[in-house]
Amino acid sequence: MTNHSATATDVRPPAGLTLPGRPTARRRPTRAWRVAGYAALVLAAAALLLPFYWMVVSSLKTNNDVFTIPIKWLPDPVVWRNYADIWQRSDMTTWLGNTLLLSVAVTTLQVLTGSFAAYGFARVRFPGRDVLFLAYVGTIAVPWQSYMIPQFVLMSKLHLSNTLWSIVAIQAFGAFGVFLMKQFYETIPEELSESARVDGLTEFGIYRRIMLPLSRPALASLALITFVTTWNDYLGPLIYLRSPELRTIQLGLNTFVSQYNAEYALIMTGSVLSVLPVAVIFLLGQRYFVEGIATTGLKG
């Protein structure tokens, strides 16, 4: 898959080509094409949203109407009461609070330490660097369920199990962020940091002043992905958390499922409520991906 990059050297930015040429002959798509394009997009969106739609519809049904043959795509009667019920019957507020706390803490730590470490791997050359980096990436390849017991024993010895700290500890220092950020730093031309060095900036200064601002899209995607992963993590909280007041949204919902195992409508109500905050955060975060940010476009 990486072979195509052989052509990378073929396209060099012609030096000094920043002249705003005439409005180039960008072909305007005709109206018909545009409508067809939108129609296709809307159709694709519908296909992507189908399970979510089903969740919403199910959350408005009675329990025994959720699974029927064939599927009922409209709720009848519409049971709004489910949304009031779930707040009463479960600890949604606690769960949401815990999950938010964890997601924010883990995301902050992951983005900070990950992007920091990535700079060391991407831009500082020292003996053993590549081997160390491979060890980082290698551990991603080990399935967690195979070492979770040794890890749990270790965490219990540290008296961290059954605390929220345990989730922060196992999630925040993953290799994922390091790898992601390293890949993005490497797209930033070396000459930029080189000239900064000449100007007397320290390595930390280069990281802070040049790398971070230039890798905003990457930081945004790392933050979004970490946030969602932590938000939706089930196995971690399942193994580490026991006290009801520590439950996260996924753990809480699943306990709820096994507690009221025939109350599918309520379960779907909970699922809808758990997805919405993430969707909002994504909607806010995606604006960092704007066409035409030329990261190397420092006029110099």
Binding site: M148, F152, I239, E263
Partner: protein, 433 residues
């Protein structure tokens, strides 16, 4: 921190026992010394049995407080394994499935409770927890599989309801007759519903077939049972395995909402059905319990004892519990298997380990429980075999047979090749370990 005081008390108690020369007693020497033992449970707000046991015991032994620790119902064993491995498990824990008993016992995670078990000889399923003459856990509930049926749908289809004389062939014939009868009367319900669990086929086959032995690696005894299920599916007398699986059909809705006229299920469903009738999740209709269909005529009829299966649910003691806690826990175990606890459990619709007349009366006194004689017979009288023998190989064989189950019922593999493959795999992957 919490442990420190009871530990001191425990040490003092032990010393007192030695000085007084009255070893062999289960109770602490000072019966008033306060002790707190922790007990694992799951889904506490909807599974009242743990609180019932804890409260009942505390009433009889005011100095012992039983504190509940909540676990996840579906992943109970995963969480418990982690806790035991790390030494953070509670003093008393539930053996939710008998098949995990071997794991905990062979792993040294269960205290020998033979001295307590000595006084419980009349509890039928105690033997399931014995290894080399020693007892490692005590059952508090014993479910067994029975046939639930909808009397109204039987009447609608004009089919004679079960009378306790059914073999599997009678059951299959009734399922088909019901399906056509209900259709003729303008209904959509199927005659039977077979849930996706492997036990719905394999549990009965192993318990009822003479000479059947899971550990022999010869699974030919499964064939007639699977053949009947496949026939019923093909005849449309029960939803297919594929449909049940892909549509996540629940047996509670299938029977409770009158989608199917018959359901084979464990006795735990009694409590669920009663609760759902009240909440409106199940319809209110006339229902009954009959003995599970039998392998042949020799065990049918109300003068014989029908053979069925079902695993006990037991309690065991964590060997890492303190001395005082161990003593209190043993007393607790003695309580949970007894008649007092039995009546309390029956009061919430649960079948205790020891079903006495008093227990039966309590259960049939509940609102909504059928009152006919066959239901009472089916509830109280049966020869309940454990679903699986306790052995090192059980978990492996169960996994493999679960895969066989889905392969056969989905129609992916023919019956004979599937059983052959299972036997080969059992020989080469499990029994040789």
């Amino acid at each position: 921190m919490k442990r420190a005081i009871p530990a001191v008390v425990g040490a003092a108690t032990a010393l007192a026992l030695v000085l007084a020369g009255c070893g062999g007693e289960d109770e602490p020497a000072d019966p008033n010394a306060p002790v707190t033992i922790t007990l694992a449970g799951w889904s506490l707000s909807t599974t009242p049995e743990f609180k019932t046991l804890a409260d009942g015991f505390h009433a009889a032994h005011p100095n012992v407080t039983v504190e509940l620790k909540e676990y996840d119902a579906t992943n109970y064993d995963t969480q418990m394994t982690a806790d035991l491995a790390a030494g953070t498990a509670p003093d008393v824990y539930v053996l939710k499935n008998l098949k995990n008993f071997y794991t905990y016992q062979s792993g040294g995670q269960l205290l020998d409770v033979s001295d307590t078990a000595g006084g419980l000889a009349s509890v039928p399923s105690l033997g399931a927890y014995q290894v080399d003459g020693k007892t490692y856990a005590v059952p508090y509930r014993q479910d067994s599989w029975v046939l639930y049926y909808n009397k109204e749908l039987f009447a609608k289809a004009k089919v004679a309801p079960p009378d306790g004389s059914w073999t599997w062939d009678d059951y299959a014939a009734a399922a088909k007759a019901l399906t056509t009868g209900i259709k003729a009367a303008g209904g959509k319900a199927t005659g039977a519903y077979q849930h996706v669990f492997q036990s719905t086929v394999q549990g009965f086959a192993l318990a009822q077939t003479p000479g059947a032995d899971l550990l022999s690696g010869d699974f030919s005894y499964l064939k007639p049972y699977y053949q009947r299920s496949l026939d019923l599916q093909a005849a449309g007398a029960q939803p297919t395995f594929g449909t049940a699986n892909t549509n996540k059909l629940t047996y509670q809705a299938q029977f409770g909402k009158q989608q199917s006229a018959m359901l084979l299920m464990g006795s735990w469903y009694i409590a669920t059905l009663l609760k759902q009738r009240v909440s409106g999740d199940a319809d209110t209709f006339d229902w009954g319990i009959a003995p599970a269909p039998q392998f042949d005529k020799s065990t049918t009829g109300t003068s014989a004892t029908p053979v069925t299966f079902g695993d006990p649910t037991g309690l065991g003691i964590n060997p890492k519990a303190g001395k005082a806690e161990q003593a209190a826990a043993k007393a607790f175990l003695g309580y949970v298997a007894g008649e007092e606890a039995g009546k309390a459990l029956a009061g919430i619709g649960i079948t205790p380990a020891l079903v006495t007349d008093a227990v039966s009366q309590t259960l049939f006194g509940l609102d909504g429980v059928p009152q006919d004689d066959l239901s009472k017979f089916a509830y109280a009288k049966h020869d309940t075999k454990v679903e699986n023998p306790v052995s090192k190989h059980t978990a492996g064989l169960q996994n493999l047979l679960n895969e066989t189950h889905s392969a056969i019922l989905s129609g992916s593999t023919g019956l004979d090749p599937a059983i052959d493959e299972a036997q080969n795999r059992a020989k080469n992957e499990v029994l040789n370990q």
